[in-house]
Symmetry: C2
Subunit: 352 residues, 2 copies
Amino acid sequence: MSNVTISDVARKVGVSESTVSRCLSGFNVRNAEAIRKAIKELGYRPNLVARNLKSGRTGLVALIVPDITNPFFASIVRGAELAAGEDYMIQLINTGDQPEREEWAIQRMMGQVDGIIYVPSQEDSQAMSDIADRSLPLVFVDRVIKSFRSVDSVLADNLTGGEIATKHLIDHGHTKIAHISGPLTSTPGKERAAGYSRALKADGIKEVADFFVESDFTVLGGYQAMMSLLALPVPPTAVFIANNHMTIGALKALKEKAIKTPETVAIIGFDDHELTDLIDPPLTVISRDAHLQGAIAMQTLLERIKGGNQFPPKRIKVDVRLLVRGSCGSTCRHRETSTSDTNKVLSASTRS
Amino acid sequence: MSNVTISDVARKVGVSESTVSRCLSGFNVRNAEAIRKAIKELGYRPNLVARNLKSGRTGLVALIVPDITNPFFASIVRGAELAAGEDYMIQLINTGDQPEREEWAIQRMMGQVDGIIYVPSQEDSQAMSDIADRSLPLVFVDRVIKSFRSVDSVLADNLTGGEIATKHLIDHGHTKIAHISGPLTSTPGKERAAGYSRALKADGIKEVADFFVESDFTVLGGYQAMMSLLALPVPPTAVFIANNHMTIGALKALKEKAIKTPETVAIIGFDDHELTDLIDPPLTVISRDAHLQGAIAMQTLLERIKGGNQFPPKRIKVDVRLLVRGSCGSTCRHRETSTSDTNKVLSASTRS
DNA sequence: TTGTAAGCGTTATCAG
DNA sequence: CTGATAACGCTTACAA
């Protein structure tokens, strides 16, 4: 907290505060040299809080995510930070997917930040009851709240992802295909599950109720879900798991039960990780560019902050792609299949 | 940005701004009921920026880390956030270990935050040239800047960690033990390397220059370092790798060369990960509680913010422990060895 | 180009 | 318990 103010500088140089202020803003002033010298000598730093009070902006953007420890969200944050440049700083909040904490965070952020990038835990959340009537710019990432259809969002193409994943298992000859899904109250949980169903239907495979386990996106949840699948009278021969944490849990279950992958049970996960090709067997996954997702979100938010409601709500979908490794029994490694190869560039990734 | 101010509320109720302000601060006022009602109806939210300008505090703490994508730093952030409670929010900055960016961040944070938790990239950094004379509370985590000896710090017991790791390899009968170290200009790089040397010396094993590779804490760096070790006329039979990223890189190199672990080359890493026991072979590592490290750092910072320089600089060291899995050839899994079992609790972990 | 003065929204002080 | 007033540090008309 620098206690030396602009008036100290002004007094030292013998000019008015306004002159110093103008000098700071890059205007031409006569004593610019002397002022800069005084600033250095006194160690003056403008008080941003005071500046913000005048300008009405804070230069802060809140990033509300479930858990920064999940590398997927960490990448989103990193991408967003990069896109923010030097103008906006990031205020990070972990919610642990607790709706009360989300609500608290949003309450607290209002009037403290210029905008919010938000990964809500549930599609029917009420955390936003207070933001509704206000004009605080907001962008959903990865998940949305249903009742806020007019809010910008940057999602992954989860439906296609679930479809590709399931189709990949089908293509390997599997018919007893299970799905460990995320909460169906969340956007990605719901959409990936829908992709799973659609792929089965497309190939005329009947959905077995026991093969669909709704879990919670956690390691423990994935572990328990896989355990329950393995305990079935007729266990599945392949499992599509809806996120990275649950996949870790599921793999731990398989390891514990000493079940061979992919021979006995083939596995395909969602979201990649630096270690996935080192685990045994290397994990085949649906992946997407989280970094890009974060960057687009920030970019959209900044446009919204600057332009207000000049443009209609954006609903952007980022492509997913299949990374084939060993966990489905395929022999070719690192083959990539993208939903479309055209829109990997930031600008081109914008689909309404 | 709520444009309804305290004076709107005051006018509506027919009292003065001061009365509303007092009501908000929990004082007894006659029209409390009416005021609360008006606040609800108008949707008034106190402007925190204005409040901050008065109070001189921002309720913000900057967290300057190399890369939030590294789960270790993510855990630090998480721990710090938890310890911050509801009073302080976290402003996150990734530096990518670029000194210029660190300097920029610190410049920018001054006067904007109440304190800084900082993971500097280099021990002789000059990023702090401007913070020197000021009284902005600061705590180093994981690494320090040498010229700031009077600044609080929360480090891991790197020396012991490096020692334990190397001793573990020695205990498995290895004598050709290499070390892929971090930058010797960084605290953990230097200290872990010192632990390596000390353990070798203690057992009378001569240090071989070729077996010591200074790298940069990155995946690519670890990969290249391991490749260079493997290219040696007499390659090592065991390698201690100084951080998680480099370990990933090294494992990729081993995999690429189809070299068997632990049979041909035993591996021990530094810092654990949720996936380390799923990779092939399960990785033996030195681990520590990053969450705790972050929490202690925040706690120390908050004390400093509140108490000023009431107490002498703290130099806290968090314990490390050995997690034995398969990558060193040991058969027993998940045996844990801690430097001391006493100080796992937050309060007890404080050593000067 | 420069200085004066008003004001951003809140809270602390001080009479009443 | 309450209300007027000043102040936090800075920016920006408005005049000069």
